[in-house]
Amino acid sequence: MAGWFRSLVRQAMFRAHTRIAGRPHLDALVKQSLARIPLLDRRLRAAVRRAREDRYQAIPVRATRIGAADLTPRALRVYLDLMKALKHSQ
């Protein structure tokens, strides 16, 4: 499984667990359902990935892979200020 997908499953399990804590029959049901996730159709997974990337890239602070080229001029200045502050705080 790709890293992002594994992370998605982990988050789903965690959230499900917080909801169903103390209810073992539901816990088992969720685990059963999660076990089927790797069987998801490859196209579906690709669609989910595309949707996720689109969504995250459209909202820059959520982008999965941020590089200096993604920064706006203002963000670049803030980034440089942060780097300066980081060096001072060392």
Partner: protein, 866 residues
């Protein structure tokens, strides 16, 4: 006073529950009762789906400019790996709130953020006067077993205690908080709550009642229960058990309707519970989540509403049901008696017998039932959002007046940098973390600038100038906007690419366009902020499609988005375009329709777009402005070439003195060239001395016609085809011809008609709406798609001309590009719309998926003329 309302309670998953409703309704009432106070709403950009619905819910109650959106690095939910990011986000949020210089911050729901991206804290970065809504302390009195949640809740309680003012939703919640958290009683204020006004008595005809019941699988009169069925404190099991104890003849007459969002497997669990108590499968019906309008209808037709909860902070469903005239019997614990009022309606939720007794009475005793309804309707008058809001505002005012030196909080940029750097250091300088933090800070605290920016999309033009009609418009309007920007704005050409969402400054293009000689090092993504405008002037379907989520992001931040619609031709004439064009145009229009306004190049296109909207499944929450502005027609602005080409020179010489008819436009099926050529072949066959001059590049799907033109026996004598004509050539050709034939079956604008009129060239045009709009009485119109029809129209026109009775094109009104740009600016800045599309059935609540689906299916829209 400047009051800032943090509305994350209406953004997280709480929006589907009572907290979300409470948050939104109280905020709306505070806004409505704000008097001289200034109210700002602070929304988290980490819940993008909720921002537009909230904006819509406050439109027009509050200026949209008073709704501010902040961003923070995400994800921040309670999960491994998020802890430091959450700390950064808390500081960023508090810094943002401080930058609004509030006299009072109201946090609608502090206990958000476990499992989602809500960011709530008090006093970790800024000392802001803060009031918090106090719903209940359920996790404190009945702790959940999950250790992570316990730790999370304890941290939230620390923040909670740091608040300056607590607004309880009931007397019970106030007293409980004072007792358990040792809060200062004077700072705990009961502001109460209320139910939405849509929960009211509705006179439903018997047929509609039956239909509602059928839709939910109900066969008999029913008892209504509302809540989260999975929560034990809601005690749905108590109701089931009590129902099972009813006398069989009474029980047979009724069903239980369980309403509330259930998680996977929960319904199966509830069915097992019901079976355990001896209930048949058909005695309990599970409706799942139901929208408020439907819920109100169900309250109106239920036999009774039962509220057996062990613990409530308020008890909203009981009040909603009472407002709808349902007799309510309810638990006598916690806050519920405050809401229900009548002692006769209360039972002990721990006693199944007590519940069963009261249930039997409300189902069987009509007098008791009628008395309950009357008393409870009276009781509902004690609750109103306006009253709650007035109490909240009064509490804010008292706090503000009591403050020793009421000074507004201020934001210091360097403090935020230092504070976040201290946390980032713990992340061992991960550059991506620093960058996402920088992005959020940059967005929340843009550099002050005197002027706003009008971003103009030149995605196609900046890549390559194919000199198409659309690009001609883009170039001409851009030139005008750059030379005469709207007051208070600077104009920035920008471009997007299909590779990823976002727009970059088109620095290289702009320097070349303005013929500036400077070196451009880089073209970064744009810094857009509240008050800026994005104008989608250029047409590049795939770039717009790629940015379908980026535009809403900009709108969320307060940037206005507008698009220019040049035409709907691929939709109107799917057969005349290559495969995929129609679908692509539909998709493009769907994205465009989610903007703030659409400016069409003619009234005809605006009307066609309105028709498209009415037929499309476009769903939106706020009105959409639709305007139109004619393209300019002053050739000199666009003319880049001055020399007459040899080919044009030769054609003009060969034209001779006979009547010559001119067509101008790319050769493509829609333009009607085939009909024109066939008509002229008939005229030539009948011996008429007429010439046909075709000016236009070869287009698509006309290979046969092009072949015919290239080898036509009359080519060079009576037929002339000029493929590559510059503006100077065109000027001369217009001057040398006798009549313009505009045979196109569909156009967005119809520039050749104006160009002809400018040269006093008479016009014979197909009778289509846009040509009528442009030419009016200054052209003669023809109908029919056969060669004979057009040949007859030409012959008739020649006869009229011989008698000088043909329509003259002089005096046809047209605008310059400067006037066109001025009109565009008036629409963008003054909202001078032709029509406004108002989605019907808009509601004040935040829609969920069901609502969105329902809206998509409903023909729910109206247009109003402006």
């Amino acid at each position: 006073m400047r009051i800032v309302l943090d509305l994350q309670g209406a953004q997280t998953a709480s929006r589907f529950r009572g907290i979300g409703r409470y948050t939104l309704a109280l905020a709306q009432a505070i806004v409505a009762n704000r008097a001289d106070h200034e109210v700002l709403l602070a929304l988290s950009g980490l819940f993008p789906d909720t921002i537009e619905p909230i904006r819509a819910a406050f439109d027009p109650l509050l200026p949209q400019d008073n709704i501010r959106v902040w961003l923070a690095p995400a994800p921040v939910g309670v999960d491994t790996g998020n802890a430091l990011r959450r700390q950064i986000a808390e500081r960023i949020r508090e810094a943002f709130l401080a930058s609004l210089e509030p006299d009072m911050v109201h946090v609608s729901s502090l206990f958000e953020g476990f499992g989602d991206d809500a960011v709530t804290s008090i006093g970790v970065f800024a000392r802001l006067p803060t009031a918090v809504t106090l719903y209940d302390l359920i996790p404190l009195t009945a702790p959940l077993p999950h250790p992570a949640f316990r730790g999370y809740y304890a941290a939230k309680l620390d923040s909670f205690r740091r608040a300056d003012l607590w607004l309880g939703i009931s007397q019970f919640s106030c007293e409980e908080a004072i007792s358990l958290l040792q809060l200062e009683p004077a700072k705990v204020v009961n502001i109460g709550g209320a139910a939405d006004a849509r929960f009211k008595r509705i006179d439903l005809p018997a047929a509609e009642r039956r239909s509602i019941m059928q839709a939910h699988g109900l066969e008999r009169p029913f008892i209504c229960w509302v809540g989260s069925p999975g929560e034990k404190r809601k005690n749905v099991a108590g109701l089931m058990q009590a129902f099972a104890r009813l006398p069989p003849e009474l029980r047979r007459r009724f069903q239980i309707l369980v309403i509330g969002k259930t998680h996977t497997g929960e319904v199966d669990g509830l069915r097992r519970t019901a079976r355990r108590f001896g209930l048949e499968q058909d005695e309990v019906v599970y409706a799942g989540y139901i929208d408020d309008d439907e819920l109100a209808r169900l309250y109106n037709i239920c036999r009774a509403f039962v509220f057996p909860s062990f613990y409530e902070g308020f008890g909203l469903p009981a009040l909603e049901a009472m407002q709808c005239g349902a007799p309510v019997i309810a638990s006598n614990s916690t806050s519920i008696p405050e809401v229900v009022g009548s002692q006769a309606a209360l039972f002990d939720p721990n006693s199944v017998d007590d519940i069963a007794d009261k249930l039997q009475r409300v189902l069987a005793d009509d007098e008791f039932r009628a008395d309950l309804i009357a008393r409870q309707l009276q009781q509902t008058r004690l609750f109103s959002w306006d009253e709650s809001a007035r109490r909240a505002i009064k509490a804010f005012e008292r706090f503000h007046a009591a403050a020793a030196t009421p000074t507004r909080s201020t934001f210091v940029y360097s403090d935020l940098i230092t504070s976040t750097a201290q946390i980032l250091r713990k992340k061992l300088f991960r550059r991506s973390a620093v960058m996402s933090t920088a992005m959020a800070i940059a967005q929340n605290h843009p550099e002050p600038r005197a002027e706003k920016i009008l971003f103009v999309d030149v995605s196609e033009l900046s890549q390559h100038d194919a000199n198409t009609g659309v690009q001609r418009v883009t170039r001409s309007i851009l030139k005008q906007l750059l030379e005469n920007p709207p007051a208070g704005y600077v104009v920035e050409p920008v471009y997007g690419t299909p590779e990823r969402p976002g727009y970059r400054y088109a620095k290289k293009f702009t320097q070349s366009f303005l013929q500036l000689d400077q070196t451009v090092l880089e073209e970064r993504f744009i810094d857009a902020r509240r008050g800026d405008i994005f104008l989608g002037l250029d047409l590049q379907h795939h770039v717009v499609a790629r940015n379908r989520l980026y535009y809403p992001h900009l709108r969320d931040l307060g940037v206005k988005i507008y698009f220019v619609v040049h035409d709907l031709l691929p939709i109107q004439f799917p057969d005349y375009f290559r495969a995929g064009s129609t679908e692509g145009h539909h998709k493009w229009l769907s994205v465009v329709s989610q903007s703030d306004g659409v400016i069409c190049v003619s009234r005809t296109v605006a009307d066609q777009y309105v028709d498209w909207l009415a037929q499309s499944a476009v769903s939106r929450l706020r009105p959409l402005g639709i305007g139109w502005s004619h393209n300019g027609a002053d050739l000199t602005v666009s003319a880049a070439h001055v020399e007459l080409s040899k080919a044009s020179q030769a054609a003009l010489t060969a034209l001779g003195s006979g009547p010559s008819f001119l067509t101008v436009g790319t050769i493509e099926p829609r333009k009607g060239h085939a009909q024109v050529l066939a008509a002229f072949e008939r005229l030539w066959d009948s011996g008429q001395d007429v010439r046909l001059v075709i000016v236009g590049k070869p287009g698509w799907m006309v290979e046969e016609l092009l072949e015919k033109l290239r080898h036509h026996p009359k080519l060079g004598s009576l037929l002339f085809w000029l493929e590559d004509v510059n503006d100077a050539d065109l000027e001369r050709i217009y001057g040398a011809c006798t009549c313009l034939i505009a045979a196109s079956e569909g156009e967005g604008f119809g520039l050749p008609l104006i160009e002809a009129a400018q040269r006093k060239l008479p016009i014979l045009a197909r009778d289509i709406p846009v040509f009528r709009e442009i030419a009016g009485q200054h052209a003669r119109f023809f109908e029919g798609r056969t060669p004979e029809a057009l040949a007859d129209a030409v012959t008739e026109w020649l006869k009229l001309r011989a008698q000088n009775r043909h329509p003259h094109s002089e005096g046809m009104p047209w605008v310059t590009w400067a006037q066109s740009a001025d009109r565009l600016k008036a629409i963008l800045l003054a909202g001078d719309w032709y029509k406004v599309w108002r989605p019907d059935g808009r509601r004040s609540g935040i829609p969920n998926e069901d609502d969105r689906r329902a809206r998509a299916q409903a023909p729910a829209s109206t247009f109003s003329e402006q």
